[in-house]
Structures are given as structure tokens and as C-alpha cells.
Subunit: 355 residues, 2 copies
């Protein structure tokens, strides 16, 4: 167990502090405080909508913690210049550093030297391990049933939906595992591959490796990234989709999102996106969207229920908000899809491959 | 002018030696010999179908050359182990090394030390320059008219078609430029960005940078990579497509190709792929496939002509083999598309953006 301070200085909003909210949701027991001098006196729950009574602090002085975790995930993944002194202070207090930035803190000469001096480890979780190469296009033949959370934009709940779905399947006695593909997911799961940080030729290969390493599972739930129509990140999304060759997909969306985040463009209708994902995925292996996960955090309970009824009618699929209403309908849909595949494989005499 | 020996030892076939054939086609004046001890006594023209009387040699002994260029582009981009001694010999002869592998020769401790000792430069053209980051989604507003060569698979002629199209447009007095996105294209054009070697989050951003740096041109022709349905490389293809936001695309294909190279899967029909590219591209900016480039190298002249008639009837677009029959129909189609865009922009009162 670590004693973590999450650093979000000046950026404590749910959009910038995406990593912070993920850690607060899934590693709350380990979080001591959130460091943002502009929010002192408030709690994480008040400011970020998650994290309950975890306090904001203005500095590391007097805080009993052993880890400083960078709580933001900005486009481009740079380190805010003004944060350098905060990192120096943490290292001088012999705190470990955990970061999911594209900028590798451990490769920075100043931080490397300081960490060596104070015998502190720096974990750059977005730094790909060695040995990643091109795909062999064999994830589609893996024995495990492959589920992939996809979305109409980035930051709409693909990681949370994947984590909750894997948990719900485990709760039902299934041998399911969440496979993390992004920095926050890796910090939560304790393993995974940061596929948006690998050499672009190797995105499908990295994803394939994740799946093959977990193919002893009955079901894997592969965390999605971005969206196929994202002008900045679509390449990552497609390489990931083809690399994990999912048999079932869950479409995640935010009902209030109208424009692509960072993209300054309208988001196409959900039904059109479902069709696009199914078409594009199926060039590698047959795949269907089996359910919808709405992120209704900004709606009232009544509005959320109305939205779920609306979207179910619109796309004809089961829908839920996994945080608010649980993951039951999605787990049902995934298990039903798995059953359909087993039956059709049984009929065609290829039962072994789907058993 | 360099005096180049191209290294293809044991791999002198048009599939493995893709970089060699590109250099022989576009930098023939500089090529002294091809190094492959298994082909001595033959010419490049005989073995690779391009390069005329350039001889194969068994070693560097007695060859008057100043550059050794790695002539292969294998999946994964590794250096064949048995080639290390050949590279050592070249450096000891004070030859410069030019490589497009994912494996960076200049970062290898042994080669780095040797190159330093013999004061020889190593050019790893696939090593991305610093300063590449995420896209800002603004290539779609660049002033230049953007053409993109796409394909039904990798290694079907997207680079050659792009180079020939830019040349033909220049011949017609247009201010056109070929923008290289792969290692061989960069070696030929003398500049470009190896977009399949950048961090995957930055593919669209690298492509956008290429376009913005050339937006003073009237027309840019952006070299395509892979295909949207390629299980290994589709992520690169889509990031590139969205990053350059083309107004016109040219579909390149090999009429004898039935299976995806390295992918062990059938290739979808050309008309279906044209529809897929137009749909996916148009989420960022309106785009149409305006012509088809067939790679008929393995067909007789009569077969090639029949194939062009067949494909034109199939997809309803002008078609040519740019090597065999020239690039005229594609240049016509591109200029017509540009004219249509200017007219429609003029009608809608947005003339400035398309002028």
C-alpha cells in the first residue's frame, strides 16, 4: 500500500485531472491528499466529484506520504513547467514519483540525478517496455472471449466501463480480466501497455501482446482509447481495435458532449458510430456492439434514467451508467454474445475454438 | 551526389528489397552496385525489374563508393544479424550508412563507436526528429490542395504514384510537392517524416506538420502508408489520413494481390475500400477518391490494358499504371477535383479559402 499525494496544481477539474479522478475512484484507500494550492479547504469529492473527504493541500509540508502521483493527462503529455519545483520537493522528501505523461520524468537529467541522490524511484508508466514490435494478426485466434470498450470521443468512460465490466463478470464467477491500455488504467490495474506511447507501427502488436498474455482467461475486457473519428487520436483507436480483434464491443458516450474533445468538430450520431465500429472491426474478425455505457455524471437521476430510455430506443441496445446503475445489463449482453458465438461455433463444428 | 552501394544480401526480391527498388528507380545515377553475394553476375534490372545494368557485387572490396544504403524494409524493421559484419566493413572503409530500419544503427553501441572512430555519419532516416506532438486538427484549413495516395494493401505503389503525380503536376506548370511519410520516400525526396516510427499519439500531428510546412505550395501529394484494413498497420494509415485531411485521394492497388501482405487475410473489393476511405476521411474534411493507380508490373502490356479497362468499369474512375502509361489521367482528375472545389467555394462565397 502506498500513501499517495495526487498532484493537480491549478488543474483540479474533471477534464484535466482525468488521472486523478481514476486513482481516487479505484485506489482511494491509498490517497492521502490532493496537491493544488488553489483548492485548499475543499475535499476531492466537492471539486472532482469523486474521492469523498480526501483533502486538498497547498504543499507537501507536514503530509505523511511516500508517493507523488501526477494527476493530469494533457493532450501532448507535457509536464507543466511550473510543476518542476514541486517534483524536486517531492524527490527531496524521498517520495517516489508516478507519472503517465508522454514526457518521461526519469529521463530528464535533473530529475534523474536528484532521484539517484535521494534513492527514489521514478515510475514513468507510459514508457513502453522493450520488445514491442508489429502484430502477427493472431489475437483474433486467441482462446479468450474479447470485449473492447469503444467510444464516441476520448474521456467518456471507456476505462471505468472496462474496469466495472470485468469486476461484474468476476462477481458472477467468470474468469475475467481488465486489460489496461492507457496510463491511468495501468496505474489502477498495476500492469498493461501504454499503447498510445508505442511506435505507431507497433500499436496493433502491443495490443496483441496484451491479449495473448491474458488468453488463459475466459474473458478479457480491453480498455479503449480515443475514437475512430478523433482527428488527433484516431490512429491509436484503430490500431488498438484491430490489434485486440474484439468479438463484442461496448459503446461509451457522454450525452452532453457535442464536440470532439480537443478536435473542435461535431460528434456523429451514436448509431452511425456503432455501424462504423462494427464495419471497421469486422475486416479483421466479426464483431458487434452489444451495449451502451452512458456517462451521466452531470445529469440528475431522473434525467439519467430518461437518457438511458432514449438511447436504448435510439440504438436498440441495452444501456446503463456503470457508476450510477451498475454494470448488470452490459455483463448480460456480453455473456449473451459469448453464448451466441459458442452456439454458432458448435453448429459449424468449430466448437473447440470458441469453447 | 553520393556513390551508393545498396545492401540487399540474400533478400534481392521486389518484396523484401522495397527500399532498393525505390532508390534504383529515383536515384539511379548515384547507385554504383547492389551488394548480394547470391546474385553476382546479374544486373539489378534482371533481378529487381528496375536499375538497368547496375551490377550485383559479392563484397565491398574494389567498389568505389562512399555510402552503404540498407535496401530492405522488413516488417518490424529489424537488422538481420548476419548483416552486422557487412556494416562494420562499410564503416571501416569510411562509407556513410543510410538506413530506414526501425532499429537505429546510430544508437547501437558498437556501430556508434566504430562510426566515431572512422569519422563516418550514420543516417537513420526513420528516427523521428524532436518536437513532434499531437495534431491541432488544422491541416484541413491549410491553403494548399491536399492529395493523398491510399491503397488496398502495403507495397502496392503509393510512394511511386505520389512521386509521379507530383512530377506530372510540376511538368504542367503547377507548384506541386511530394511529401514523404516513409523511409524510402524520405531517402528519395531528401526530406519528410517517418510517420510509422513516431509515438502513436503523434501520427496525425506529424502528418499535419508535414502539410503545414508545405502549405505555400499550390498542391501537395502526401505519400500513403498501409491500408485501413491492414491488421498490422491500419492505425498508421488512419492517423496519416486524418492528419493530412486530403481533399482528393488516389487509390493504388496490385491486381494480382489477393491477400493482405503479412496479414494472411483476403483483401476487400476495391469499390468497397474506396467507399470506406471516403467515409472515414470525410469525418475530418470532405474527401473523394478521384482515380485509381494499378501496379501492373507482373502483367503483359495487353493484360495491363485490359485490367485498366476492367477496373475503370468496376469503380467508374480514371485509371492508369503510372510507371507504364504515365500519370496523365490522375493529374487530370486531381486538377478537375481542385477546380470543382474552387467553383463550389466560389458559389458559397468562401472563395478565399480555396483560391
Amino acid at each position: 500500500m502506498s500513501r499517495i499525494v495526487i498532484l493537480t496544481e491549478g488543474k483540479s477539474n474533471p477534464t484535466d485531472a482525468k488521472t486523478a479522478t481514476g486513482i481516487l475512484r479505484y485506489r482511494l484507500d491509498e490517497v492521502v491528499a490532493v496537491l493544488d494550492s488553489t483548492q485548499v479547504g475543499k475535499t476531492a469529492g466537492q471539486v472532482l466529484g469523486v474521492g469523498g473527504s480526501v483533502p486538498f493541500v497547498a504543499s507537501l509540508a507536514g503530509v505523511d506520504a511516500d508517493t507523488l502521483l501526477i494527476g493530469i493527462a494533457p493532450a501532448g503529455g507535457g509536464l507543466p513547467v511550473s510543476w518542476r519545483s514541486l517534483l524536486r520537493q517531492a524527490i527531496e522528501r524521498r517520495m517516489e514519483i508516478v507519472s503517465g505523461l508522454h514526457f518521461f520524468i526519469g529521463d530528464d537529467p535533473e530529475f534523474r540525478e536528484l532521484a539517484s541522490k535521494y534513492r527514489v524511484r521514478i515510475y514513468d508508466v507510459r514508457k513502453p517496455p522493450p520488445g514491442i514490435s508489429v502484430s502477427r494478426n493472431i489475437a483474433r485466434s486467441a482462446r479468450c472471449f474479447r470485449v473492447h470498450t469503444v467510444g464516441h470521443d476520448c474521456s467518456v468512460g471507456k476505462m471505468v466501463t472496462g474496469l466495472e465490466l470485468a469486476r461484474e463478470l468476476c462477481r458472477r464467477g467468470r474468469d475475467a480480466e481488465f486489460l489496461a491500455t492507457g496510463q491511468t488504467g495501468i496505474m489502477i490495474a498495476g500492469k498493461g501497455l501504454p499503447i498510445d506511447a508505442v511506435v505507431s507501427d507497433f500499436v496493433a502488436g502491443a495490443t496483441e501482446k496484451l491479449v495473448l498474455d491474458a488468453q488463459h482467461r475466459e474473458i478479457v475486457v480491453v480498455e479503449g482509447q480515443g475514437t475512430l473519428v478523433h482527428p488527433l487520436y484516431s490512429g491509436v483507436t484503430l490500431g488498438l481495435l484491430h490489434g485486440c480483434a474484439p468479438q463484442a464491443m461496448v459503446m461509451c458516450y457522454d450525452p452532453l458532449r457535442r464536440e470532439i474533445k480537443y478536435g473542435n468538430m461535431p460528434i456523429p450520431p451514436l448509431g452511425e458510430l456503432i455501424d462504423l465500429y462494427e464495419r471497421v472491426a469486422s475486416y479483421i474478425a466479426p464483431s458487434e456492439v452489444v451495449g451502451v455505457a452512458a456517462n451521466t455524471a452531470a445529469l440528475s437521476a431522473a434525467e439519467a434514467e430518461a437518457e438511458l430510455r432514449r438511447v436504448q430506443a435510439e440504438v436498440g441496445l441495452p444501456a446503463t451508467d456503470v457508476v450510477r446503475f451498475g454494470c448488470g445489463p452490459l455483463a448480460d449482453a456480453v455473456l449473451a454474445a459469448r453464448e451466441r458465438l459458442r452456439e454458432s461455433a458448435g453448429r459449424s463444428g468449430a466448437g473447440a475454438a470458441a469453447s
